[in-house]
């Protein structure tokens, strides 16, 4: 800045007569995604979502025995159809790994900015707090969606490349053609998003309320573990259908003939009971909070 006097003299002061046009929530959302794309930690979860199916496929190729037990109808089908792989991966990852991946970003998305002080930077621009919150919540959800479908895509590609694009047998022992099975695989992942996005909302709430990334991520995962523990407590069987973790299997209904919509519809309203208040509480906290971090 040593030659300020020599620099041209642009007009720095506004001469506005009308109210300035404010940016949309979509603009804020796009920049939230841009920020996620630029952070290394974003890729940690995505690498997990990709690596686990890859490792699974490699292991199954190397390891020639496939006696996975009779409790899962898809396990014996691994070498018969590549489309069994994404179903099995969803079974395995849905319990803990995908909620963890979703929590990595959801728990971080508000708290990290609070800690770095960048929240005050963006809140002194022309977007309202509500817009910033909506953009952040949507970005966290987008990340969860990408992680789920990325994992499914990699598992499908790996499975089909290894064992072919063949028909599969569903939970109800009916044979489904390969194209229909492919559709069902992705529909199952879409159904799984219902409880996973609920976990994401919990993560956003913790991120907003605690202002601490690590605590929010751990808290979100801890919430999932807590529900698993609650589900195991004798005498509490009555509340099991209303736990978010129980909804992680809602997609099983799609892989039955005829399609059983009941668990999907049940998960919809159960998850809404968790996600709605969590998101609303997070929104209120975000609107009212003092931003003094950084």
């Amino acid at each position: 800045m040593s030659t300020i006097e020599a620099s041209p003299t642009p007009t720095l002061v506004g001469a506005r007569t009308a109210r300035a046009r404010r940016p949309s929530t979509l603009t804020a959302y796009r920049w939230e995604l841009r920020k996620l794309r630029s952070q290394k930690r974003t890729y940690l979860g995505l690498v997990l979502a990709v690596a686990l199916p890859v490792i699974f496929v490699i292991f199954q190729n190397v390891h020639q025995r496939h006696d996975h037990g009779a409790d899962n109808i898809f396990a014996p089908q691994i070498t018969q159809s590549g489309l069994a792989t994404p179903v099995l991966m969803l079974l395995f990852l849905s319990v803990f790994m995908l909620p963890l991946i979703a929590a990595l970003v959801a728990g971080d998305i508000v708290a990290a900015e609070d800690g770095n002080g960048t929240l005050k930077t963006i809140l002194t621009r022309s977007v309202n707090r509500g817009q910033v919150f909506a953009a952040k919540a949507l970005a966290a959800m987008t990340y969860a969606v990408i992680a789920v479908f990325l994992s499914a895509a990699v598992a499908t590609a790996g499975g089909v490349a290894s064992w072919g694009f063949n028909q599969i047998v569903t939970f109800s022992d009916t044979v489904v053609s390969a194209p229909k099975a492919l559709l069902l695989v992705f529909a199952a992942n879409a159904c799984y998003l219902i409880p996973l996005l609920t976990v994401t909302c919990i993560g956003v709430l913790l991120s907003t309320a605690t202002r601490n990334s690590a605590a929010s991520v751990v808290g979100t995962v801890g919430f999932v573990i807590l529900l698993y523990i609650v589900a195991q407590i004798p005498g509490l069987e009555g509340i099991r259908p209303y736990l978010v973790t129980e909804q992680f299997e809602n997609w099983h209904g799609l892989l039955r003939t005829p399609t059983d919509w009941a668990p999907i519809l049940h998960s919809l309203w159960v998850c809404a009971l968790y996600a709605g208040p969590a998101l609303f509480a997070a929104y209120l906290v975000f609107l009212r909070r003092d931003v003094a971090g950084g």
Binding site: A28, R34, S126
Partner: protein, 389 residues
């Protein structure tokens, strides 16, 4: 343009850039800001001063809508940032504490992000503002690698993107080297010259003295002076510096002389305060006492002198309340526990040279009265605080 927008624009044009009334911020038992009133007028370069932990940053945060006041209101061009959110920040830019950016994005990307969140063609001004702060050559580098000074300059650039009519800057020169500080001063002067109202919080008292026409001084969460800097300096009373053949004896004589106050000896001779009519008798007394006068020079109180007078000893009663409240908001002092206050002690130390001359200056404020603790109370509406038509 809608009727409402027209009304807003009209109101925004005539309303004061910053108007705070009875601002209070309490954190549990800690009273960080205690009924602060501020009046920043269009075109002001307004200095906002106070020791660390005095409540300056908290006040600025409330002004920008970042934190909610416990009581009171603040309006920017007539709009309340708490109730009206981003709309109240139209035409307002700046930063509180150090400007913060995304370290994993380049300087330009950071500005693009902020321009996107500003709308209104801010993106087209990125090159322009980068040139103003001379960061164009480093714009493609990640902010994580920027020095403190570069981040400060990027903060200014980010503020200028909004074409502000009011610029709020919290310690903009902190961490800058002397050349950087000089350039920052030049930039602020230039922006003020373009008609931007500047609210400048700073510890650099010479900088404030040089740049600002009006100031507010806060201590323990309360405004102890608000008004024209020139008025404050006038109220500070006339000071004199004396070099003699025997400074110690000169101090002794001066202290016994009617009308002479705060006579202290130091490295650079003897300083004292007195009305002009009392200086003649003093020089005669010195001669009679066998002390030769080598030099006698009048000195107008510096902002630094006045700052320490108002903020040390808990001595200043806010707004003409007679100094009895010099310790008001003592809980605010506890706020310094949170980490802000350790440097306040440093400020006190720095002012030790003037300490002897503070607090008991009965002549300092003819309107404000003098409190029992001897602190000079500034008037509630000192000469400089009347509202401009």
């Amino acid at each position: 343009m809608s009727t409402r927008a027209t009304e807003d624009t009209a109101r925004g044009d005539e309303a004061a850039p910053v108007r705070a009334r009875g601002l209070v911020k309490r954190y549990d038992e800690v009273l960080a800001v205690d009924h602060i009133d501020l009046n920043v007028r269009a075109g002001d370069v307004y200095g906002f001063l106070g020791p660390n932990g005095a409540g300056k940053t908290t006040t600025l945060r409330m002004a920008l809508g970042l934190i909610m006041p416990t009581e009171g209101t603040v309006e920017l061009f007539g709009r309340d940032p708490i109730r009206q959110g981003a709309r109240a920040l139209e035409g307002v830019a700046g930063f509180v504490e150090a400007p913060r950016f995304y370290p994993y994005l380049t300087g330009r990307k950071n500005l693009e992000l902020l321009a996107a969140l500003d709308g209104d063609g801010a993106r087209e001004r990125i090159d322009e503002v980068l040139a103003v702060v001379e960061l164009a050559p480093r714009a493609k580098h990640k902010v994580g690698g920027y020095s403190h000074g570069m981040r400060q300059r990027l903060g200014i650039a980010a503020a200028l993107l909004r074409r502000p009519r009011l610029l709020i800057l919290d310690e903009p020169a902190t961490g800058l080297d002397p050349a950087g500080m000089r350039d920052m001063r030049e930039l602020i002067r230039r922006l003020a010259g373009e008609g931007i109202t500047v609210l400048l919080s700073s510890h650099q008292l010479p900088e404030v003295q040089e740049l600002c026409d009006r100031v507010a001084i806060v201590d323990h969460g309360r405004v102890v002076y608000e008004g024209a800097l020139a008025d404050l300096r006038r109220q500070g009373g006339a000071g004199y510096r004396l070099r003699t053949t025997d400074d110690a004896r000169a101090v002794e004589i001066a202290r016994g002389q009617p009308g002479v106050e705060h006579a202290v000896g130091g490295e650079h001779g003897v300083s004292f305060q007195a009305q002009e009519r009392d200086v003649g008798p003093l020089s005669l007394a010195l001669a009679q006492g066998g002390v030769g006068i080598l030099a006698l020079t009048p000195e107008l109180a510096t902002l630094e002198d006045l700052f320490f007078r108002l903020t040390e000893n808990g001595g200043a009663g806010a707004n003409g309340e007679g100094g009895t409240n010099g310790g008001a908001g003592t809980k605010a002092g506890e706020g310094t526990k949170a980490g802000e206050g350790t440097k306040a002690g440093e400020g006190t130390k720095a002012g030790e040279g003037t300490k002897a001359a503070i607090g008991t200056n009965a002549g300092m404020d003819p309107d404000g009265g003098v409190g029992p603790n001897g602190g000079a109370g500034a008037p509630r509406e000192p000469a400089g605080t009347e509202t401009r038509p």
